[in-house]
Amino acid sequence: MRDGGVLLWLLLFLPLVGVAVCLVLKSPRKILLTTCGGIFAIGAVAAIAIAIVIIRGTPILAANDWLLLDALSAYHLLVMILTFALTTLFAVRYFGDELRVNHFPTSLARQFSSLWFGIVASIMTVLLSNNLGVMWVGIEATTLVASLLISLHGQPLALEASWKYILLGVVGGTFAFIGTLTVGISTYRLPVETSGCLMWTQLMACAKTLNPEALKIAFIFLLTGYGTKVGLAPMHSWLPDAHSQAPAPVSAIFSGFLLNLSLYCIMRYIPLVEVATNHARWSLRIMVAFGIISIMISAAFILVQHDVKRLLAYHSVEHMGIITMGLGIGGLGVLAGLFHTLNHSVCKTLSFFCAGRLGQLYGTHDMEQLSGVARVAPVWGIGLFASILALIGVAPFAIFMSEFQLVKAALDNRAMWALVFFLFGSSAIFVGALRHAMSMTWGDTAADKSYDKANIIDYVLVLFPLGLLLLLGLWIPEFLWNLIQNAALIVGK
C-alpha cells in the first residue's frame, strides 16, 4: 500500500461505520450529534488526503489503481467536505427545532442519519474510484439515496418530487451507463488488459489511440445521462421539484454538491474525448451549447418564480450552466468554471440554509408571504439577501470573480455567442432575482411572526460562508489556486 492509500480506504469505510452506529443509537439527539461528529471526522481525514495531494503534487493511488485521488477529485472532495460540514451543522439546527416539538422521532432520525452517511459513502465511491464503471455505480447509489432523502418526511408533494427525480434519474443513469460501456468499446482494438478497459488512468494513457467515433457517441450519451443529474436544461425538470420539496439540508447538499458530482463525472470524460479527437473542441462545443440553454431557460423561470426554494433551484440550473459553459470554453474558462464550483456550492448551501429556516419560521416558501424577513429573523433574512446578491454576481463576492474570469476566458477564446448569451441571461437573472430579494427582505411584514432568537450556531452558519465568499472574492490562498490550476490541467488546458 502506497502512502496515503489507507486514507482513501478510510474515506470509503468510515461512512459505512457511521451508518451502523446510527442504526444502533436510540435517542434522536444523540443520533444527530453522532452524525455531526462523524461527518467532521470524515472531513478531517479528507482534509489530510487533500493536503497530501496538494503538497506532494502527485495523485494518490491505492488498491491496484482502483482508487485514485488526483487534483480534480481532491478539489471536488474539498468542496464536498466544506458543504457537508456546514450542512450537517445546519441539519442539527434544523431538525433540532423539529425535535423540540416532537416531530422528529428516533426512526426518522435513524433514517436521516443512515441515508446521510449513505450518501457520503456513495459520493466517496464516485470521487475516489478510478474505474468509470464503479463511478457509475456510485452515481446511481447517490441518486437512490438522494431520492429517499427528498421524501424523508413523506409529504405527498415530496413523494411526487421524489418519484419524478428517481424516474428521470434512472433514465439518465441508463444513458450514462450506455455511454460508459461505449467508452469501454472504444478500446476494442487495443491490447488493454481486462481490468484496464474502464480504468480512467489507463484510458488517459492511451487516449490518443482510442476510437474517436465511439468516444463521440459515448460522450453524447454521457452528457445527456449525467447531464440529467446535473440538471442541465432541458433535462432539468426534476430539479426545481426536488429542491423545493426536500428538507432544507437535503436541498442544500443537492444544490451544493450532488449536481457538481455529476458534472465531475462529465469532467472525467472531456479530456478523453478531446485527446482522442485531436483537440477538435467537439465535446467542448456541445458543453457550451448546453450551458447556454441552461442559463437562458433558468433566466426565464427565475423571472416568473413565486417559491423561494424553486427560485434557488433555478439558480442552480443557471450556475450549472455557467460552469458547463466555462468547461466548454476551455483554457481560462475551465479554471473559472472549477473556481465557480466552489463559490456556488458555498453560496448555495448558505441560501438554502436561510430559505429553509425562514420557511420553517413562516410555514411557507411563497415569496409573496415571505416578506420583511430581515425584521423577523435578522440573521437568516440578511443571510438570504446577501446570498442572493452573491448568487447573481454582485462584487466583491467570489461568484463575481469567477464570472468575471469566465467573461475574460470567453473574450480570449473569441466565444462571442456564448458571451452574449451569458451576459444577457445573467443580467436578466440579476434584475429578476434582485426584485424578488428586495421585496422579500424589506417588504411589509404581514403579521406578527414568532421572532426567532438566533444562537451562536446560526451566526456561524451564516457568517462563515459569507465571509468565505468575501475572502475568496478578494484573495485566493495560493494552495487553493494551485489545486484549482492542477485540476483544470486534468480537465483540459
Binding site: 419524478k164 428517481i166 469501454g184 481486462t194 457517441i217 423561470f301
Partner: protein, 216 residues
Amino acid sequence: MYEWMDTCLVAILVLDLYILGTSRLIAVIQATIVQGMLLGILPLTVHSQETIHHWILSISVLLSNVFLMPYLAILLIRKVEIRREVEPFLEFTPSLMIGMAIAFISFWIAPYSQKILQLPQHFPRMLMPAAITTAMSGFIILATRRKAVTQVLGYLVMENGIYIWGLTLLDKMPLLVELGVILGIFMTVMVMATVCYRVYLRLGHVNVDELSNLKG
C-alpha cells in the same frame, strides 16, 4: 459461432414485443423472468477462456433477474393492488408497432454502427438490435404508462437491454464492475419499488398523471 446467442436474442426480441403489447402486469413480469433466464444463458454461449467469469456472471444475473427482482415486482403489484395497466398514454397496439419499428430500424443501422464502433467482423448479428429494442421497449413503457408500478417494470426491461449491450465488453470488463452494476440495478429497482409503495401508502394511488401538482 453465435447461433445459440442469436437464437436467445431473437427470443428476447419477441418477448419485448409481448411486453409492449400486454396490459397485464403479471404477464410483463413473467416475460421479464424469461428474459432474465435468457440473459443468464447468454454469457455461457460465448466461447472463451474465462469460463469461471462467465459462470459467475450468469449465476448472478439469474439470481437478480429471475428471482430477486421479479419477486420484488410481484410483491409490489400485490401491495398496491394493481393487476393491469389501464388506458396508458400510448395504447398497447401502437406501442407494439413502435417497438417493432425500432427493431426494424436498429437492424438497419446495426451494421453501420458496428463499423463506426470498430467492432469485430464476426460480431453476433442480433446483439445490437436486441439491445436497442429491449432498452427502447423499456423506455416506452417507462415513459408512456400511467401507473408508477408499470414504470418500475419498464425500468427492469430497459436494464435488460443495457445488459445485452454490456455483453460487448464481456471479456474486457472486470467481474467486480459487472457485479457492482448488477447490484446497482437491483438496488435501483428496490428503491423505486419502495418509493412507489410509499406513494401508494400516502396517496392511495399510483397514477402518474395525478402526480402533477408541482409546476413552474
